[in-house]
Symmetry: C2
Subunit: 450 residues, 2 copies
């Protein structure tokens, strides 16, 4: 077998579904005024070093064949930060849709791959607090609503609140990152397991772990923020206080956007990547839309992101910072859900846009078919012809049925003499003779969308 | 520096130009009824082995980090053949636009990169001779005409004619491939150098080389085909005769398509890849369109392709063949030409589609701006807002000038009281008060394309 584990080909039908998802996402990104950029699939290995914490082991390296050491990009965020620093850009709102690579254990039934698309929207620049951050959440809300994937929830937290929480719980500074990684596993593991990892593997005191345990079960909205701002310990911690203040501001903006109904301030949300510095968030689908599907689709995170104010500075020779916040939509799970839905609905998806098949009723008319289709192509009509010298009319009509081509332009000896073409509507079997000079206009009229 | 040699980032402006090129190409591929597929960026190393002849040394391998040995794709043709065999597809017309990778010496000024796009259209299936082949040439003709790149020429030859020619010139069977590689260099080297490579490095007899030298200077149209069909030696060679017969048929179809004016049957065209079995072709730009450009753009091959009837069978366990013919458009040179043309013309290219900026004339109106923009986004209007609590009106208007946003929706205290929004046309400075409930309709009307 020639298949690479953890990857897949997209068939024409799958591509049609994928295009729908991309269109919804790109339409939203453009609605918010984003420009688009592209970067190479590989980066210098050193560009990716030290950006992903414990996940760095999943980076794909290229073989050393002479020249620079290269790695495949792990996400689109680090290449974006590298791009900003290299081009001294301090202010941009851009999207980028491209494949990223992770040497993960493929669990493809759960929609996880080693090669997968990310659709990223980021805002870079020195701005007033939480306005761009709120827009990122609005974007996630718009896209997940547009795609009609069923109910969803966007969890929000802040690295500063987490770090403040770790501090007041008695976690030593040196253990912040690794304890943060443990908290990040709470969406897949019960608290008891996470606690024993903290205490057993990572050497945290049981008291500190239990203290964390109390906080990470909290989730809510503005009321919880207010409550924590009064928390005797957290409110004494500078970082936590800053984070909570910004969280309050964020919720005020989200209220203006009318989307707080699907937002949850959740102290258990951690996100593993090293580069986040402020707000972090993650969107999860709450239940699969599988009324018509036999096998339930497993659900999970479909979008995530946050603020990373220090990353660009890591690539600048003078360390100049450019504050950034952004969101990444993961389309693989979304695509799996929509694909299963299409399968179940027996919806017929066309994989071409062909308007007309140029056919002949008699033999020896290949030349006439080629002349006619050339006229149609030159006029911008989407047209096909069977690659046979003498195809049977029935086979030509069957091809239209199979592929959804709505019209057939039939040339025969009589039609050629009369200067007409017989135009057949596949769905109704209606046939009309159309003068050859009017054919293009007639096809356009009959295939224009209402 | 963090740049990977031989690659480049695309800025928003470059992306806008790239999108134009892609649109022209995709529109053409769809006009010819093609479906679209996608495959992973890497393949098993063995999938690529033995497909590219002397160019195999340019393949990028991934590091062995456990698991399978992988290589980055070198073109889109081999992955396509692998896809057909794996899925037992015997009949498809598809396009595929994606990046491919070659460890070449980057000569970026000449538009050559180690990572570059190919835009491939291929027809697979058992069909009557030369009909799909002719369509591939029609497609190249349409795309190069649409893009208005100046004059171009499509050179055509056939591997069977080359092999027949080698045979009648006295080249031993075992040297066919390597002598073919030498002939392939004729577009970059004079005949004398190619001849000395054949005789000196590759051990061909001087007589055989001189004999080849006579053939490879020939180029023409139907007349040349007829002449060679009468050639006392070639006409006795089975392969050459087959190739010349098909070439004649091809030119008949190209005459029906009305495109022979830009097609040249050229015996010096070889193309290096191992997998071609029949017709081969290559399109070259004849002169750069650089009337307005100071630095002349170097020109060269912008499209190539041919027939490869044996490739799919190499991936099928039982060796079942699927005849294929296809064309690959290389956009990097095309893109360089168009980019220089845009630079020279001082054409202003918008990199966003934003219809309106939501602005305020006074301070303390951030909340009102966010409420209004949320209404616009929800109605599908492309809108932006400056991420400042109290931006100056002048700065907001300047932002529109800089980015080409045509309208400004201004909220002020008076407007809020009156239930209106002040809509300003950036180009004319005209201002009208629009009732809030009519704003969406008014923006749509004023920004719809004529």
């Amino acid at each position: 077998c020639y298949e690479v584990p953890g990857t897949r080909d997209y068939s024409p039908k799958q591509m049609a579904i994928r295009e729908r998802v991309f269109n919804a996402i790109i339409t939203c990104f453009k609605r918010h005024g984003a420009e688009v950029i592209d970067t190479p699939v590989f980066e210098l290995k050193e560009t990716l070093t030290g950006k992903y914490g414990e996940d760095s082991k999943l980076i794909y390296d290229l073989k050393d064949q002479g020249g620079e050491l290269l790695s495949l990009r792990y996400d689109l965020t680090v290449p974006f930060a590298r791009y900003l620093a290299m081009n001294k850009i301090t202010n941009i709102k851009r999207y980028h849709i491209a494949k990223v690579y992770r040497r993960d254990n493929p669990a493809m039934t759960r929609g996880r791959y080693r090669e997968f698309y990310q659709c990223d929207f980021d805002i870079a620049g020195q701005f007033d607090p939480m306005i761009p951050d709120a827009e990122c959440l609005k974007i996630v809300h718009e896209i997940l609503s547009d795609l009609q994937l069923g109910d969803f929830l966007i969890k929000v937290n802040d690295r500063r609140i987490l770090d403040g929480m770790f501090a007041v719980c008695g976690v030593p500074d040196s253990k912040f990152r690794t304890i943060c990684s443990s908290v990040d596993k709470l969406d897949k593991m019960p608290w008891e397991e996470v606690r024993s990892e903290m205490v057993g593997e990572k050497g945290l005191s049981p008291e500190a772990a239990d203290h964390i345990g109390e906080y990470v079960q909290l989730h809510g909205g503005l009321d919880l923020i207010e409550q924590l701002l009064q928390d005797p310990k957290l409110s004494q911690n500078k970082l936590a206080k800053e984070g909570l203040g910004d969280m309050k501001l964020l919720f005020e903006y989200l209220t203006l956007f009318g989307i707080t109904g699907k937002i949850s301030f959740d102290l258990s949300l951690a996100r593993g990547l090293d580069y986040y510095t402020g707000v972090i968030f993650e969107a999860v689908l709450l239940q699969p839309e599988n009324d018509h599907v036999e096998e339930p689709v497993s659900v999970g995170s479909v979008a995530g992101g946050g603020r990373y104010d220090g990353l660009v500075g890591m690539f600048d020779p003078k360390g100049r910072k450019v504050p950034c916040v952004g969101v990444s939509i993961g389309i693989e799970r979304i695509f799996s859900i929509l694909e299963q839905r299409v399968e179940a609905s027996e919806e017929k998806i066309r994989t071409t846009e062909t308007q007309v098949l140029v056919a002949s009723a008699q033999k020896k008319l290949l030349e006439e078919r080629l002349k006619l289709i050339s006229e149609l192509w030159n006029a911008g009509i989407k047209a096909e012809v069977l690659y046979k010298k003498n195809p049977k009319l029935l086979n030509q009509l069957q091809y239209c049925e199979d592929t959804g081509i709505p019209l057939v332009a039939i040339v025969g000896e009589q039609e050629l003499k009369d200067g007409v073409v017989k135009l057949r509507v596949v769905a109704t079997r209606e046939e009309v003779n159309v003068r050859r000079e009017s054919l293009v206009e007639e096809i356009r009229m009959r295939t224009s969308r209402p």
